[in-house]
Symmetry: C2
Subunit: 231 residues, 2 copies
Amino acid sequence: MAKNIKSIQRREREREELREQILSTAMSILVSEGYDAVTIRRLANEIEYTPGALYSYFKDKDEIVFALVVRAAQHLNKVFQAQESLPNPLERLWAIGRAYLKFAMEHQEYYDLLFIMSTPIQKISEAEFSEGYTAFIILRQTVGECMEHGYLPRADADVAAFALWSFVHGSVSLMIRKRLAIIPEEKYHDLLEGAYNFLMSSMMPRHHKQSETTLPKPFPKLKHSQKSKKK
Amino acid sequence: MAKNIKSIQRREREREELREQILSTAMSILVSEGYDAVTIRRLANEIEYTPGALYSYFKDKDEIVFALVVRAAQHLNKVFQAQESLPNPLERLWAIGRAYLKFAMEHQEYYDLLFIMSTPIQKISEAEFSEGYTAFIILRQTVGECMEHGYLPRADADVAAFALWSFVHGSVSLMIRKRLAIIPEEKYHDLLEGAYNFLMSSMMPRHHKQSETTLPKPFPKLKHSQKSKKK
DNA sequence: AAAAAAATTAAACATTGTTCAATAAAAATT
DNA sequence: AATTTTTATTGAACAATGTTTAATTTTTTT
């Protein structure tokens, strides 16, 4: 008898399910216990297989982590796309920035993975990673429209988008990686809020600030602050 | 006979010398081969001791790494202090920002250690780390003076300094941690230069740009880009 | 010269990610 | 239905990491 297609399909489906289970387990551990807890043996335990088994589902750990990065990126993209309905580009720019800050502070582990950690970086540059560009493209588009409307000085859209991205990324990076010991932690929320308004208003002096209801207040407590080996 | 003070002094001096040798070796490996190459066994090899011996000079690896962080901070502080002679606060602000970018791109390993990596973070928050504040204090002071002269909108100096720091930190972080795959690498220098001018000029529209001779061009090649386990 | 103190080593431990021959399970073939 | 082939999984090992500790060597003091 020739190959049983039904069997093959079922096998592939089951493989896909296990792959998914590995990833969702990894996501769950990442969020609840931090990156250092996401270990091959730990994952194997949780899915009730042996460590070696994972290697028939993923080439190596980086491939697992990269899959998490993709998910984090998709998450962020949804957040960004939700702002695209705003017709006024200036409003949209403010909203995008706030959404970015909110995403970063509410999902610090994803954010870290996505924009700070170096582990899965080879893949990011090598493999196609279109998910990683979506948010930037939306930002650049919005920045361009702001220029057309005179809300921002005319300049290369890549450059201006990079400048604004750098600012929000810098803010949350310094917080997530705890480089603000000089400032008392209870001021962090006002600091982020204040810096955002200050910089954005300074750049666009003609135009009023947006409502301030978007940012979560207070920020979620920073978790697993003990020993982290993230580089 | 009572304790031989000369001997004790010599011993302490020799201990201090070996400590210093460990740190300078670590610095050298860090710069030439990247953080992942800075390993206890590697250090032991280079100073021709056994791995365990290092533990009578440093409590653990974090203590070594933290010592490197302190040195990196001192390096940055010197760079900042060199700008303090500029009498005009606006000029000083521009100069400080450029010096920061230059430091980051010319000493990416130090920068990473100082502001991105999470390894020695416990110490940074726990121990006194006055070296870590100096640069920020200079920035804040300059920002304050800029406000007094009307170069910047009046606001909380902490907030404004944090905003500007966030921007430059974000820029170099995205580069160092390679999150700009969407942009061709040969544009990086212009991107950094352009974003800096764009943002700074936008915030201070009345005032002209500074000379552009400070930033190195082109940036040093990114090293050891293979597999890095930095988190 | 002997005793005490300090420094260093050697060897182990626990934890990582990873590989691979052996085995078990499932599917295809006769 | 029994056998062969293919696939999946295990178990055990490997190399590399940081770290600890008893034993040993070296240095200092008595």
